[in-house]
């Protein structure tokens, strides 16, 4: 019953997002055929508009779109003549998802490790070193880091391919470029949270009982310190999995990141809506998983008054 209700709410939320996006994208100036308007005769433009239902009044367009949407059909793309929105996403998503998943793992594993080490060495050399790394990691945006990585690791030292997609070697540099900032943020959150937790009475109790320090850190410390990292990583996962415009462009990766930006500049209405719905679905499911994992990490947490 609870799951059923949650799924219903998710569908409702996606419907609201779709509707608002529909309204906003039609209220900004711009025309998907702006670049064709000078070269093509008026009759051809009329025909093209009709093909994408753009000649219908807006409420009719909206109803027609929703009709297709409930059948999981995201409609044709105006820009791409051969592929519809479903195919665009199906073709590009695997590359984006692999890249996103790898960077997520890199950011989580190394970020957590760095944060824990820094907290346990509070105000020690390792703490300062880890935090200096974190500050540099946050201060260098990916659009600067990526060309630097390519210049050294690919061009000068030839350790990895320069760009493009195919083997796993191709995925390393973009994953690192994408993971650096989240890694640094995870490390900062974990350090701060661990410092808080290691001050708690139950840690002192465990220590006084003579438990092994690794056991205390992992079972009592890390587990209780994870909540801020989980809060941060949820939305991040949705953003990373659905591709990033900058990194995919720099490394020439055939992902879906570019559609989020290009579709808006081209006023490719079906692609705008399709990518938005796709991203929102992943995001809402991730945020739901975040809520569930709160309770797994800390069973005292109550999310609803019925105690689910």
């Amino acid at each position: 019953m609870y799951i059923f209700k949650r799924v219903l709410t998710m569908i409702l939320t996606i419907w609201v997002i779709t509707t608002l996006t529909f309204i906003i994208m039609h209220s900004i100036p711009g025309d998907p055929f702006a670049s064709d308007a000078d070269v093509l005769p008026e009759e051809v433009l009329e025909n093209m508009r009709a093909k994408f239902n753009l000649d219908e009044p807006l409420p009719m367009q909206y109803i027609l779109y929703l009709k297709n949407l409930v059948q999981f059909d995201l409609g044709p793309s105006i820009q791409s003549e051969t592929r519809d929105v479903n195919t665009l996403i199906a073709d590009g998503f695997p590359a984006s998802a692999i890249l996103g998943l790898q960077s997520l793992v890199i950011a989580l594993v190394f970020g957590l490790l760095l944060g824990i080490i820094a907290a346990l060495n509070h105000n020690g050399i390792l703490d300062y070193a880890a935090m200096a790394f974190a500050i540099i990691g946050i201060s260098i945006p990916s659009f600067i880091l990526a060309p630097l990585l390519i210049n050294y690791f690919a061009v000068k030292w030839g350790m990895f391919p320069v760009a493009s997609w195919g083997t796993w070697q191709h995925t390393i540099l973009p994953s690192v470029a994408l993971a650096t900032a989240p890694l640094a943020i995870v490390a900062r959150f974990m350090r701060s949270s661990m410092l808080d937790v290691m001050n708690q009475n139950y840690i002192k109790t465990a220590d006084a009982k003579g438990l092994a320090i690794t056991g205390i850190v992992i079972k009592h410390g890390v587990r209780n310190a994870l909540i801020p990292v989980i809060s941060f990583i949820g939305p991040l996962a949705a953003f990373l999995l659905t591709g990033t415009f900058v990194i995919e462009k720099i490394f020439a990766i055939p992902g879906i990141g570019k559609y989020f930006v290009d579709s808006i500049f081209n006023r490719d209405f079906p692609v705008i809506l399709g990518t938005t719905i796709f991203f929102s679905t992943i995001l809402i499911v991730t945020l739901f998983l975040v809520d569930i994992s709160y309770r797994i990490v800390d069973p005292r947490i109550k999310l609803t008054s019925r105690g689910e």
Partner: protein, 313 residues
Amino acid sequence: MAEQHKETLFRPVDRSRFQQEKIVRPSMSQWKETTVKIMRNKLAILGLGLLVIITILAIIGPHLVPYSYSDQNLSAKNMAPGAEHWFGTDSLGRDMWARTWYGARISLTIGLAAAIIDLILGLIVGGISGYMAGRGKFGDKVDGFLMRIVEILYGIPYLLVVILLLVVMKPGLWTIIIALSITGWVGMARIVRGQILQLKEQEYVAAAQKLGTPHRKIILRHLFPNMIGIIIVNLTFTIPQAIFAESFLSFIGLGVQAPIASWGTMANDALGVILTGQWWRLFFPGFMISLTMFAFNVFGDGLQDALDPQSKE
């Protein structure tokens, strides 16, 4: 012996002890305590000092050289840093020192304004949402409603909202700040909510509730101070993220317009020339962003130690 024992066992109760029964310390002394603690923390003072210097240079820096941020001098283009141009010049012969400090005004304003708006909205929404979750049917509804708003704001394409804003408003600094804030606060709200969900199950909250402390006071006096570290850490990211988001907006033609400089746009412009050896084009704006970040981080760490009620000596 017995006499002595009696004396040590039974002492008149010091009246000031009753003061200790109060749950919250007087706020005056907390302010004082915070100041004292920060003054003792050398790194925090270094951070604060750096922030003051950067702010002063942002105000007077552009006036220290006889060039303005927009003066082009094609006979002095691509010059390396030296006596003539302290930070070198760019491909249009504009003085990098003047541009760096003029850019500091724009970038720091955007970063700070975005951070403050994020903080206020994030604390309010995240605080209410986290506190109301699990608090009866009504509480669940409030939490659910606020979190659905967060999901919707995450879901609607950000670029679309920015373009809409620019149609409605004039392009300028405040439009950029509003554009950054519309969705910027949702991350903070989610993190605050997560923390509240965990902290409100702690014993001291239960104690405060049993003593009849009003909800507002529990959130403000018990929950927020105990998560101050996470709030400060999140805040220190908001500033560089806003600085870079502005450069992205400028890059796609929606941010500050040339010849106005900002650290983000300067770093962005330098991308094309970094491999040709003009390192100063990227180094100075990049270094300033890192230095500001460093200053905010160490000052934030000091602030965290000083404000956190758990870390009292």
